[in-house]
Symmetry: C2
Subunit: 335 residues, 2 copies
DNA sequence: CCGTGAGCCGCACACGTGTGCAGGGCAGGC
DNA sequence: GCCTGCCCTGCACACGTGTGCGGCTCACGG
């Protein structure tokens, strides 16, 4: 335990050269002769050398890490996005340090401060909510910022998003094509920017079919099953005659399904339910959930690639928007 | 963008003191007069100073980060554990860098190497599988290692685990008390150490009731819904008359439920199902899943606390084992 | 007036790595 | 034999921070 790690100076001493030569040899500099490189590399292996990212980062001004702030890693949607980020990061010799903000402003500040001290090379944010005050602190870190499923007003902040308007349209058009005219929307948490856009898209599509979602049929959830369940119960309690329910995301749909089951209603015979995200378990629900799929892994992948481009100062990085897709399963039916 | 961050030397220049004084002032050293401290602190705030964890880590030999390797962050069980880790880490001024191993040996090596270069102060591992070769590389990092839900043969590696034997017993005893005598077990992936132990505990409890789980009634899954669905279908296809199914974890139970539904069997009227983990959605399934709960958040919390104790060289850290608990919902019924 | 001690601060070095510049060795051409 | 040029290596500094030790200033007592 008292053993300290071996440094390039140790290798230099053993090899009888200067530490500069070792540094150059290990980074494959053309200034070093082939045989010296080979000798030093072998020595480094034998001595169990592991370069210090701290020392290196201090001089190169690159830490080799990117910050990753999410509302909660518990959300399965976020989990899949994070996986996309982390895997492409690792393949590019980058690591990600993870921060749960829990949507608490105080924690958000704390995490940003920590990420700044760690000198992360970029920050990727997957919290649906990005307050203006929060943004100010983010750009205070002085590193590129990539927002996922969010757009910021200012410059210097880039984003990769889903075309949520189109996603909402997909859902609305599909429901309309099945003959639904009374559809309800169970929204996400109030601060979720995407929620309103999805609703807007859905309403636009329904309008083409000559109908709409009246205000009394949009209920507010929280993006989790309990919120969906509560909203669905509220809907049932009010006795409003709906034939279909569009959910902000799959997790609220999970809650909606349970609430409907408990109320003795069958899906899709009595009421159709459509979700959003296409989370892994969506296909294994009862009934299998029809939903608007987001390319979650690609979302993370593209965000990480964008972050890398920004770090390397590549010009002309442009915000990317990915397309949603309707996944037809068994939770919707013609009325 | 070209702006570099302000250092203590910059502050020192402005304040007309040496950088040592600034360093000591900011770390609240008693060697500095109160008014000088106040002046320097104010200056640091005004100049937007943010200490560099790289520079500090280089001299203190502490990076302030811990490595976190998981099989996949997509697993909801792991997600909740990670949340426990990350939150208590942040409250102790620590950050976590996340690595998905995907149970691929090649990736595992890559991540360990990266964590070592980043000079993490400790490593927490939540992959159910820990090969001996992998362990060798892990201890090569020269930092404390904490295993979650795993035990290692050697020393220098600590662990916090659930009493899976007891967990299995809870499930078995409960099923036996409901009169079940023909119960099947759907196991986890072959490398999951916990799977066998849970089965063992269940069999022990059933034995007290004078029955057992014969080999033909233990099927192998993969810890995910698709695996559970496949195993359940296999069970149905074979036509074996079981009255209850014990699942390695809740996610396989999800798959089992879908398979049973599709086969026209009702739960719990026709067959009882019991899971393990008490994942968030378990309560929102249809029917709500009876399961053996693991204190997931506490698992992560205790692991992080143990890691901190090991980092600080505290003596007498002892492996901790947490108790499982039966959560009775509606997926099991007296036969 | 001098010695003593306390309080506060700077000098210098360390941590591990990267890199511009100079210098040494050697071969080749005149 | 000397100059030129090339190839390889070492010197020295930089990055941002922490810290042991010595030194300065000032007040106070003898």
């Amino acid at each position: 335990m008292g053993r300290v790690s071996v440094t390039i100076k140790d290798i230099a001493r053993v090899a009888g050269v200067s530490h500069s030569t070792v540094s150059r040899a290990l980074s494959d500099s053309p200034l070093i002769s082939t045989e010296t490189k080979a000798r030093i590399r072998r020595l480094a292996d034998e001595m169990g050398y592991s370069p210090s990212a701290l020392g290196r980062g201090l001089v190169t001004r690159r830490s080799g890490t990117i910050g990753l702030v999410v509302t909660t890693i518990t959300d399965p949607f976020i989990g899949e996005v994070v996986q996309g980020i982390e895997e492409t990061a690792l393949s590019c010799q980058y690591n990600t340090i993870l921060c749960n903000s829990n949507s608490e402003p105080e924690r958000e500040l704390k995490t940003v401060r920590a990420l700044r001290e760690k000198r992360v090379d970029a920050i990727i944010v997957t919290s649906s909510r990005v307050g203006s005050l929060y943004l100010a602190h983010l750009r205070g870190a002085g590193v590129p910022i990539v927002l996922i499923n969010n757009q910021a007003a200012g410059d210097y902040i880039h984003s990769v998003i889903i075309d949520d308007l189109h996603g909402g349209e997909l859902a609305g058009r599909y429901l309309a094509s099945l003959g639904h005219r009374r559809v309800a929307y169970i929204a996400g948490p109030i601060w979720a920017r995407a929620s309103g856009i999805r609703l807007q898209g859905c309403r636009r599509a329904l309008a083409e079919a000559g109908t709409d979602i009246p205000p009394e049929l949009v209920l507010v959830g929280n993006g989790r099953p309990d919120g969906g369940m509560q909203a669905a119960n509220e809907l049932l309690h009010r006795g409003l005659p709906v034939t279909a329910i569009f959910c902000y995301n799959d997790m609220t749909a999970v809650g909606v399904l349970t609430a409907l089951h408990r109320a003795g209603l069958r899906v899709p015979e009595d009421v159709s339910v459509i979700g959003y995200d296409d989370v892994a378990i969506a296909a294994h629900l009862f009934p299998p959930l029809t939903t608007v799929a987001q390319p979650k892994y690609a979302l993370g992948q593209r965000a990480m690639e964008m972050a890398l481009a920004l770090i390397n100062g590549e010009p002309g990085v442009r915000d990317v928007v990915l397309p949603p897709a309707l996944i037809e399963r068994e939770s919707c039916q013609r009325v």
